[in-house]
């Protein structure tokens, strides 16, 4: 009996057997097939073929000569009987088969070509591997969670459909140090991914590529060169909490914790928040969250459930100016804004034109501002009464205002408008129109579409076209009015660093 020919490379692990055990096996291994069945051999055994090629195969029966005949034998491929015209009897004990234009294998374990006896019993089988050689993998992307490991992902060429099992191997080496390494932990983040857990070096670039191999050949991707420090990311921020802001019906407060990895490494983080309404798919993104771990979303609809996510980007790694890679978004956290107290349309609470700011949101907003001032700026004397005085003052015409030496003398003239309170140590020194959001002192983050009703009186409209000075930002009034955000500065003591409070007027709403 012919010994089966050595299988493909994948099975080269089987060593050729020593002679004595082989003889032993020959004795022990007398065919013990079912009653009356003969044995047979299909040739070729387990061939590998290109799609579209042809195959000539034979089924040779041996064993009991009186019963063993090629008559009555037939072929099946994957359980389906093959047409008789594809077979022909070569001699008394051999049936031949000719297949042309083969399709790709139905399953990666190989097509099952079987030679049957007349009664249907299986005499022999052979697995056909029909497919294509792999194409070049591409689109390799890598990231490191802690500068000690590296995870990479790639896309297989030709969408991976080779009909044969294709083995992917991620290789890497330091650019100037020559030795190839192979990644061992596969399928960590999807079918075409690999994780290198340790022994990585910094400051020298790595060359990374993917090799795809199957029975028909191999292909290698382009080499990706990267520096570990350039592809750092973190886990998303844990413990994201979203809560209401007192009774404010259009705001939610988001708090999170910086990812623990940041403590270990010398980088800062910048964050991004995105939020959406429960039954919408459009996310709004808040971008300038910088280094804080809390932010207030404003301009939301009352009585609505919002989903919020936060993600993190480490930057300034070891002093570099480059940003890393954004983390995944945190798990969505939900919270709902309080229901609107006033009947009528929700969303974008509008102030009645030129009316008293005694309506809910503005008053609440102001109350909050004053409360905040009291807490952070020791402006204990500020009160609604004072506010009303300002408002009254604001509603005077420009001319009279500038000439007024009354309750609120304006100090320095010129390009900024300033007010003073009567409370020593607490000076609302200037309000300045600016487009920015000071990261350190900003409890509000003007989000896309954030709408907070303006507080008339405190932020009255400055003259048109009047340029304003600001230590950080200089813009003309027209520009800022279209951008629509206002800041005012509170100096606790003259000359000390200021804290800023911002308000964004509703678009189209009349101010003051």
């Amino acid at each position: 009996m012919p010994a089966g020919r050595p299988g493909p490379a994948a099975q080269s692990a089987r060593r050729p057997p020593p002679l004595l055990p082989l003889l032993l096996l020959c004795v022990l291994g007398a065919p013990r097939a079912g009653s009356g069945a003969h044995t047979a051999v299909i040739s070729p055994q387990d061939p590998t073929l290109l799609i579209g090629s042809s195959l000539q195969a034979t089924c040779s029966v041996h064993g009991d000569p009186s019963g063993a005949t090629a008559e009555g034998l037939y072929w099946t491929l994957n359980g389906r009987r093959l047409a008789p015209e594809l077979s022909r009897v070569l001699n008394a004990s051999t049936l031949a088969l000719a297949l042309a234009n083969l399709n790709g294998s139905r399953q990666q374990s190989g097509d099952n070509l079987v030679c049957h006896a007349r009664d249907g019993s299986i005499l022999a089988g052979s697995c056909l591997y029909v497919g294509l050689p792999p194409e070049k993998p591409f689109n390799i992307s890598c990231w490191s969670k802690n500068m000690k490991d590296l995870t990479c992902r790639w896309t297989p060429g030709a969408h991976g459909e080779t009909f044969l099992h294709t083995n992917y191997s991620l290789k890497y080496k330091l650019r100037w140090y020559g030795q190839d390494n192979t990644c061992e932990e596969y399928h960590t983040v999807g079918p075409h991914s690999c994780h290198i857990p340790k022994d990585l070096a910094l400051f020298t670039p790595y060359e990374i590529w993917v090799e795809a191999t199957n029975r028909l050949g191999s292909a290698r991707s382009d080499v990706l060169t990267l520096d570990i420090l350039d592809v750092v990311t973190t886990d998303p921020p844990p413990d994201v909490h979203v809560s209401r802001v007192g009774g404010l019906e259009d705001q939610l407060s988001v708090r999170w914790v910086s990812p623990p990895a940041l403590k270990d490494f010398l980088f800062q983080a910048k964050y991004q928040i995105r939020y959406r309404v429960e039954d919408s798919v459009d996310w709004k993104v808040v971008d300038d969250v910088s280094n804080q771990t809390s932010c207030r979303l404003a301009g939301l609809k009352p009585g609505t459930v919002y989903f919020v996510q936060v993600r993190c980007n480490p930057f300034g790694i070891y002093g570099s100016k480059k940003a890393g890679i954004w983390s995944e978004w945190s798990h969505p956290t939900a919270a709902s804004t309080p229901r609107s107290e006033r009947p009528g349309p929700g969303g974008g609470a509008c102030e009645p034109r030129g009316g008293e700011p005694s309506s809910g949101p503005v008053r609440r907003e102001l109350k909050q501002f004053l409360g905040w001032l009291k807490k952070h700026a020791y402006c204990s004397n500020l009160s609604f009464r004072l506010y009303d005085q300002w408002r009254a003052w604001m509603q005077k015409s420009h001319k009279t205002r500038n000439q007024d030496e009354g309750i609120l003398p304006s100090g320095r003239r010129g390009t900024t408008r300033e007010f003073q309170t009567l409370s020593p140590g607490c000076e609302i020194s200037r309000f300045i129109l600016t487009g920015g959001c000071d990261p350190k002192h900003q409890p509000y983050c003007p989000g896309a579409g954030g709408v907070i009703p303006a507080i008339p009186g405190l932020v009255g409209p400055p003259p048109q076209g009047h340029p304003l000075q600001h230590p950080q930002d200089t813009e003309t009034v027209e520009q800022l009015q279209t951008k629509g955000s206002l800041l005012w500065e509170v100096q606790q003591t003259p000359g000390q660093s200021a804290t800023w409070w911002s308000v964004t007027p509703a678009s189209g709403q009349s101010r003051g």
Binding site: M1, P2, A3, G4, R5, P6, G7, A10, Q11, R14, R15, P17, P18, P21, L22, L25, L28, G29, A30, P31, R32, A33, G34, A37, T39, A40, V41, I42, Q45, D46, T76, N78, G79, R80, R106, Q107, Q108, S109, G110, D111, N112, L113, V114, S121, I122, L123, A124, G125, S126, C127, H165, Y186, H187, P191
Partner: protein
Amino acid sequence: MDLRAGDSWGMLACLCAVLWHLPAVPALNRTGDPGPGPSIQKTYDLTRYLEHQLRSLAGTYLNYLGPPFNEPDFNPPRLGAETLPRATVNLDVWRSLNDKLRLTQNYEAYSHLLCYLRGLDRQAATAELRRSLAHFCTSLQGLLGSIAGVMAALGYPLPQPLPGAEPTRAPGPAHGDFLQKMDDFWLLKELQTWLWRSAKDFNRLKKKTQPPPAAVTLHLEAHGF
């Protein structure tokens, strides 16, 4: 292809020797313990669970092997699987098994089967299939432990590997891929048969260790049930 006695089993038999050295489960603390009943019940439940798990695993695996292996009435020659422990047994013989023999046969069978399962040379299978196989092996290991627990509770020694029973036979002539597929088929079939049988084995054991509910029966009879 040569339909001789499968040599792949021989190659794996040496690996089976390792499995025999499973750590013996320490005997249950006899003082005030509820007896072997709960662990017999647990073993019974495990066989049912494994049977369920195997159904899904076998379905996926046979689809991977491709037709005709996944056809319902597929019945290839059973050549390579001679060394597989057979669940099939004569009814009278089965009924007359004493507890120790019953448990021993179960234990030995699953030790073998687990060994062969672990040796399934399916490098080419999908990662998901390999994971399912690994998961099933772990569950099977749990069943073995459970049977060992019952044996210990009843005071029976765990079966030791027979000396010379697992010779390290060298791998024979190249075992064709189709033959390998048939071996895999029979392994899964035998596993299935054993799990069916074990459920009945442990059910029988369960009844033997329970007090007969005679009073209840009388009560029911009085009500004409």
